[in-house]
């Protein structure tokens, strides 16, 4: 009994496991084929097949854009080493776009982030239920509009023929002499922040309201017995109960910094405000599709790669930190 062959037993066990894996795979064959494969194939074709194209960042690549497909370009273009990254380093417009991306994200963080928190608390304090519901319907609606539509309305309101100019002229006719609110470096970023709050501020309240609704009512009852007023209850009960959610949302928004909202900026900006409004995504779009001079598309691939790598690190980092605060990773 003592000298049984351990190795043989392990081998047999492994063979058995292998067999059971094959068995399990066979058992799920229809799931693989009809349920997993379609979605997976779409993701692989449209999200993974472009990835080898990143190699263009190290290649010279100037022919007419889009005349041929990705892989024929990859095969035919010559490697140039780190040239594109070096010229990227010296490119002023690139640094301007990088700086703007961070600046706009930070401004949105400072002004845009607290807004839904405060609004959610105010909505929660509202005692008229019907009215509250109507308000919520109104607040959340703009989220579902495209930036094409919202920008269309903004351009009309603040434009040359718009209401804002006409109202301002009533109070201060001098101020509208050279009206260029949309094309002014000083007013463009505030415009971005205000229109962002207008569109997303109400939508942002939903998670906070759900969290506030989950607060144990007995906490409030106990506080009322202890003589706490409404303001004190907001500060000492409601806020602490949603703090971890606030922290998670803050971290996730910081992680998303590199995405300064292409849709919004692209539909609102114009050449006069490139110095304050051009972000990396709009910059990549312009040098790729709207450049007047012959462009090396390897360069614009390099800019895209630069952005995507930083974005990746920020997103992963933010997600990991948010997990420490109880974030589940899908949201």
């Amino acid at each position: 009994m003592g000298n049984f062959d351990l190795e043989a037993i392990q081998k047999a066990q492994k063979a058995k496991n292998r067999k059971s894996i094959i068995k399990r795979i066979w058992r799920y064959k229809w799931i693989y084929l009809f349920m997993l494969l379609p979605g997976l194939a779409v993701i692989i074709i449209f999200r993974y097949l472009p990835l080898p194209g990143i190699a263009l960042a190290w290649k010279k690549f100037t022919p007419t854009f889009g005349a041929k497909g990705l892989y024929s370009y990859l095969a035919s273009s010559k490697p140039v080493g780190w040239k594109h990254f070096e010229s990227l380093w010296r490119e002023k417009a690139f640094w301007n776009a990088t700086k703007n991306t961070f600046m706009i994200s930070i401004l949105k963080l400072v002004f845009g982030f607290p807004f839904p928190v405060i609004l959610a608390i105010l909505i929660n304090e509202m005692t008229m239920k019907r009215y509250k519901k109507v308000m919520q319907t109104i607040y959340t609606f703009p989220h579902f509009l495209s930036w094409v539509v919202v920008a269309g309305m903004v351009l009309n309101l603040f434009g040359d023929t718009g209401v804002v100019k006409s109202v301002v002229s009533k109070f201060n006719p001098d101020a509208v002499a050279n009206w260029n609110f949309l094309y002014n470096s000083r007013s463009f970023r505030p415009l971005l922040i205000i229109s962002d709050i207008w569109k997303e501020g109400g939508w942002g309240t939903i998670l906070y309201l759900a969290a506030i609704a989950g607060v144990d009512p007995s906490l409030h009852e106990a506080a009322i017995v202890d003589g706490a007023n409404r303001f004190q209850r907001i500060v000492h009960i409601t806020l602490p109960e949603i703090t971890s959610l606030i922290i998670i949302m803050l971290i996730l928004q910081i992680g998303n910094m590199m995405n300064a909202n292409f849709d919004q900026i692209f539909n609102l900006y114009s050449a006069p405000v490139f110095d304050v409004g051009d972000v990396i995504d709009t910059y990549i779009y312009r040098i790729t599709f709207q450049s007047s001079t012959a462009m090396d598309y390897g360069f614009s691939t390099a800019v895209g790669l630069f952005k995507n790598v930083i974005n990746f690190v920020l997103l992963i980092g933010a997600n990991q930190i948010a997990k420490l605060f109880g974030h589940d990773g899908i949201m």
């Binding site: 349920m35 979605g39 109104i138 006409s166 114009s270």
Partner: protein, 307 residues
């Protein structure tokens, strides 16, 4: 002011609850005013858009700020509904919303069900492959050239096929499917049902409200599509409504710049026509929103449920 609030607040708490309805406190008044004010800020641009679209151009130019229009004209809407570009793009958008949403939902639901199988060999690898795409992509140039290679540039299907699956929606639906009691599925299996039957006959009917939510989200995304059209579709016959709208808005803004440089003028779209286009674009959403609000609003919290 702050002092007042505290005083009234304390008074309220002495007889907590009962007289809240009877007395209106300063705090409530301020609250009411603030919330109403924000609602007005949201509503006004819509109201202004509708007004500009229905008043004669001359009235609007004379007095842009209006509350009640003196004269009403339907000329702008006549233009919109007689413009071949806009009519075609409306039709395109409707088809896109229907076809795209079905395509998205079918793929999403199938994947979601796959990931409820905890002992599926390779489950974690497949999950990683999908989730990775949420964090990293090829970028504009590689993607464009790949689509070129696939024959999608200039092809209407570029608006549909690459949209595929939203990984976030898929994972939320999947986790909701997993929360269903396992016995339901087991007993169905005993009765000889296969996975496809279980999914469509048992699982999906049980999560109908969640499916409604994400169907709506996908439909809104497809309805709002313009970016892919701008990148890949030069031919405006293939454009969805949002892209046509964008074209009209931006060409009208460029009139002033063109006029300055003295070049020939592009077709003139007045503010009235632009705003009429916006109203037409937003109308379906606005008409449905109050009725479907429940579904519109639950998506985010569905994701947060799983702790």
């Amino acid at each position: 002011m702050a002092k007042n609030k505290v005083k009234y607040g304390q008074e309220e708490n002495v007889v907590a609850g009962a007289h809240m309805v009877r007395h209106v406190h300063t705090f409530d008044v301020i609250l009411f005013i603030l919330l109403t004010l924000f609602a007005l800020v949201i509503v006004y641009p819509f109201y202004n858009t509708i007004l500009v679209s229905i008043v004669p151009q001359a009235d609007y130019t004379r007095q842009p700020f209006m509350l009640i229009p003196k004269r009403v004209t339907w000329e702008n809407y006549k233009f919109v509904f007689e413009s071949p570009l806009l009519l075609r793009s409306m039709l395109n958008s409707v088809v896109l919303a229907v076809v795209g949403t079905i395509y998205n939902m079918v793929l999403t639901v199938l994947l979601a069900y796959t990931f409820t199988k905890r002992d599926l060999p390779g489950r974690n690898i497949f999950r990683f492959i999908l989730v990775f795409t949420m964090y990293f992509g090829g970028g504009l140039v590689p993607t464009y050239l790949l689509y070129k290679a696939l024959g999608l540039v200039g092809n209407w299907w570029v608006l549909v096929l690459p949209t595929g699956v939203s990984i976030t929606y898929m994972l939320i639906i999947s986790s909701n499917m997993s929360e269903l009691p396992a016995e339901i599925e087991e007993s169905a299996k005993m009765d000889g049902a296969n996975d496809i039957q279980i999914l469509f006959k048992i699982v999906l009917p049980l999560i109908k409200p969640i499916l409604a939510t994400f169907t709506i989200y996908y439909a809104v995304e497809r309805w709002n599509e313009w970016y892919s059209a701008m990148l890949y579709l030069k031919d405006n016959k293939l454009w969805p409504l949002q892209m046509a709208l964008r074209q009209i808005i931006s060409s009208a803004t460029s009139i002033s710049t063109v006029a300055m440089t003295g070049e020939t003028r592009p077709p003139i779209y007045g503010e009235g026509i632009k705003m009429a286009c916006i109203v037409v674009t937003v109308f379906p959403l606005m008409a449905l929103y109050p009725f479907l609000q429940r579904y519109f609003l639950t998506g985010l919290t569905l994701g947060a449920v799983k702790g």
